[in-house]
């Protein structure tokens, strides 16, 4: 039941929504006595105007892709995984253990091992809430919230205790050189054409893209994905079809937790190269917004993650070069989430009306009733 052309749905509406968000951000920036036009220029220039900017934008985006996918996968089974934060923290712990204690001959092996361990740790952290939901009906929202707090305490325990390096800082030692992941600079830069200078984007970005593809295959192409989606839409139907709810809840949450955990290969292994307190830095929560804005589809998650990467990097440049406080950046993020995510019907409804008057044209035949296909 298309009420307007596809391009308007996927391009025009988000664009208009972004403009609205920008407008209201401008109002707030004006109110605190700064120049919104300058601010916009700095943000765009700083985040997208150079390979350096892109290097940061994509670095943040990589984090959000992982956590966004984690939330998205769970969403398909109608599980609301608020625990991405804790799962990412535990993933970081896994990465640190692997990188610190196993001597790797080459970074590729380190990446494989770290990614696997991160996934296992993240999955393990999701496993208990999942099991309690599946077997005891304990609400996954509460348990995952609780597990976020517990993970933070656990991380603190390790970082001021067993894993702490010398010095004041509650952090592990720096990972050995062999566990260093190549950054975009290492990969694409040459002495006469320096690119991505100093930016933290690294191979983990490509792992994230692979994860998008894998999740797409999982959800829309695999049998498990089919079962996950049918369970999500209707549990009675799933039971009727012989799909075990316990199995689906467990598998979905393990995959979700694994994805969230894998974020650690980007921020812990790729960027910080050591484990610090609060390593996930709220990416788990941004992942919720990213997944919801991306309509739980990997492509949507990717785009939303890049948008948030842009906001983070653009926001950093704002803080660096203007007197606009960093809290203003949070306000801008909020407005973007609000207008592109929650209020998109405010834009859609009038646009639909415009389009339907534009083509009050012939018969609504079977073609025009073609609803969205499953993808």
């Amino acid at each position: 039941m298309q009420k307007m052309p596809q391009w308007a749905d996927v391009l025009l509406i988000p664009l208009v929504s972004l403009i609205l968000a920008a407008f209201f951000s401008a109002v707030v920036i004006l109110a605190i006595g700064e120049n919104p036009w300058e601010a916009l220029k700095i943000m765009v220039e700083g985040a997208l105007g150079s390979t350096y900017g892109w290097g940061y934008t994509l670095y943040y985006a990589t984090n959000f892709i992982f956590t966004g996918l984690a939330v998205a996968v769970a969403n398909h089974a109608k599980m609301f995984n608020i625990g991405g934060e804790g799962q990412a923290v535990m993933g970081g712990l896994g990465v640190a253990l692997v990188c610190l204690y196993i001597p790797f001959p080459h970074w590729t092996l380190a990446l494989l091992a770290a990614a696997a361990t991160a996934a296992v740790f993240g999955a393990a952290w999701a496993a208990i809430p999942a099991l309690l939901q599946a077997k005891r009906g304990s609400h996954i929202v509460i348990t995952t919230i609780m597990f976020n707090f517990i993970a933070a305490s656990l991380l603190n325990y390790f970082l001021i205790g067993p894993l702490k390096a010398d010095g004041m800082e509650p952090a592990t030692a720096r990972f050995p050189e062999a566990a260093r992941l190549p950054t975009f600079q290492d990969m694409f830069s040459s002495p006469d054409n320096p690119l991505f200078r100093g930016a933290p984007a690294n191979v983990a970005f490509f792992v994230a893209i692979l994860a998008c593809i894998a999740v797409w295959l999982l959800i829309w192409r695999s049998r498990l994905g089919y079962e996950i989606r049918s369970f999500g839409w209707s549990e009675p139907a799933a039971r009727y079809a012989g799909i075990s709810p316990v199995r689906i809840i467990m598998l979905t949450m393990l995959i979700s937790g694994g994805l969230a955990g894998m974020m650690a290969i980007n921020n812990v292994m790729g960027e910080a190269e050591r484990l610090v307190l609060n390593s996930a830095e709220g990416a788990g929560f941004i992942g919720i917004a990213v997944a919801l804005m991306g309509r739980s589809h990997p492509l949507g998650v990717f785009l939303a993650a890049v948008l948030f990467g842009f906001l983070y990097q653009g926001g950093a440049e704002l803080s660096l070069w203007t007197g606009i406080p960093r809290d203003m950046v949070v306000v801008i993020q909020a407005l973007v989430i609000l207008f592109t995510g929650a209020l998109d019907n405010m834009v859609r409804m009038p646009l639909e009306r415009v389009f339907s008057t534009l083509r009050r044209a012939p018969k609504p035949d079977s073609k025009s009733t073609t609803a969205r296909t499953a993808e």
Partner: protein
């Protein structure tokens, strides 16, 4: 463990439970009407800031309280607009409100007061003081009951008693009034309300506004009752805990009281390593202490609380024509 210690822990329990209780009841009204609200945190924060800011400026805590309520109400209005009028995703709207409050409170606080996103410290009539209930002094010496009355029941700020009163009041409104009947109905099956000739939108807006008022109290209590001013992010995740308590309480007012008291109690315990060590006879590290309320919540949830079935129409916008 002596009576005084127990009373002290319970006293802390009551204070820590109060903002949770307000927020939990707020979420209860919203969710019973079918509007899921993970923006409790943001609304509380907005209210905490505005109540402290206006109280600081006017010197009157009551004007501050009203301003805090107005602040939470305006966040509610955004949530209503997004999730009722424009049938948006209620979760996204909640997330946005949390971010918005987190950013705006500090930006505005900084531009108004220039004290690093804090409000000036409140004193005198600009904050809620504890009140002594009648007879508390006189009865203080009575064994057992005296201290209980004096320490535990008396001596809280007025908002604590308001919160406690809100429990029977909420129950009464939900169960005994026309409005409550309709509100519960709209969270279960909005079509039933619609075909009965009652506006779904108006009811849901009313619920969301009540939610605003109650989160307004919650925030004002934090900033002007428990504390004497606003500090950035001072809600510190209490909105999420209130949400957990709400699910725990299975969306019922009396159960909400017990659930928030339980959470308050667990948090109070985690403030008292001496008591825990005395009872458990083991050394508890600060990390374990910090995680304890959350671990116990999961244990209690898994062990004793069954499946929680939310209001059936919760989270779904009411759409007639697909």
């Amino acid at each position: 463990m002596d009576l005084a210690t127990i009373l002290q822990v319970l006293d802390t329990t009551v204070r820590l439970a109060t903002p949770l209780l307000f927020a939990c009841l707020a979420g209860l009204f919203s969710e019973r009407a079918g509007i899921v609200d993970i923006g409790l945190e943001g609304k509380m924060l907005a209210a905490a800031f505005l109540s402290a800011a206006i109280a600081a400026v006017t010197g009157s805590v009551w004007i501050g309280l009203s301003a805090g309520i107005v602040g939470a109400l305006s966040m509610s209005a955004i949530h209503g607009l997004a999730s009722i009028t424009f049938r948006g995703n209620q979760l996204i709207s909640g997330v946005a409100i949390n971010f918005l409050a987190q950013g705006l409170t500090v930006v505005i606080a900084q531009s108004w007061f220039n004290q690093g996103g804090r409000t000036p410290a409140l004193a005198g009539g600009a904050r809620f003081h504890s009140i002594t209930l009648p007879g508390a002094e006189a009865l203080r010496e009575v064994p057992v009951l005296g201290p209980i009355y004096y320490e535990l029941i008396s001596g809280h700020s007025i908002l604590v008693y308001v919160a406690l009163l809100c429990v029977p009041l909420s129950w009464w409104v939900l169960q005994r009034t026309r409005f409550g009947l309709r509100l519960r109905a709209v969270g279960e099956n909005p079509a039933a309300v619609d075909t009965a000739g009652v506006s779904v939108e108006r009811l849901r807006y009313a619920a969301v506004m009540i939610c605003g008022v109650l989160t307004g109290f919650a925030g004002a209590y934090l900033a002007t009752g428990l504390q004497a001013g606003f500090v950035r992010d001072m809600t510190a995740g209490r909105g999420y805990i209130a949400l957990a308590a709400l699910i725990f309480a299975k969306w019922r007012p009396w159960a909400a009281l017990w659930a928030t008291l339980l959470f308050g109690f667990l948090q109070a315990l985690s403030l008292r390593p001496d008591v825990l060590e005395g009872v458990l006879r083991i050394d508890v590290s600060s990390q374990l202490l910090d995680a304890l309320p959350y671990i116990l919540t999961v244990v209690i949830l898994a062990g004793f609380v069954g499946r929680a079935i939310p209001p059936r129409a919760g989270g779904e916008p009411y759409v007639k024509e697909r």
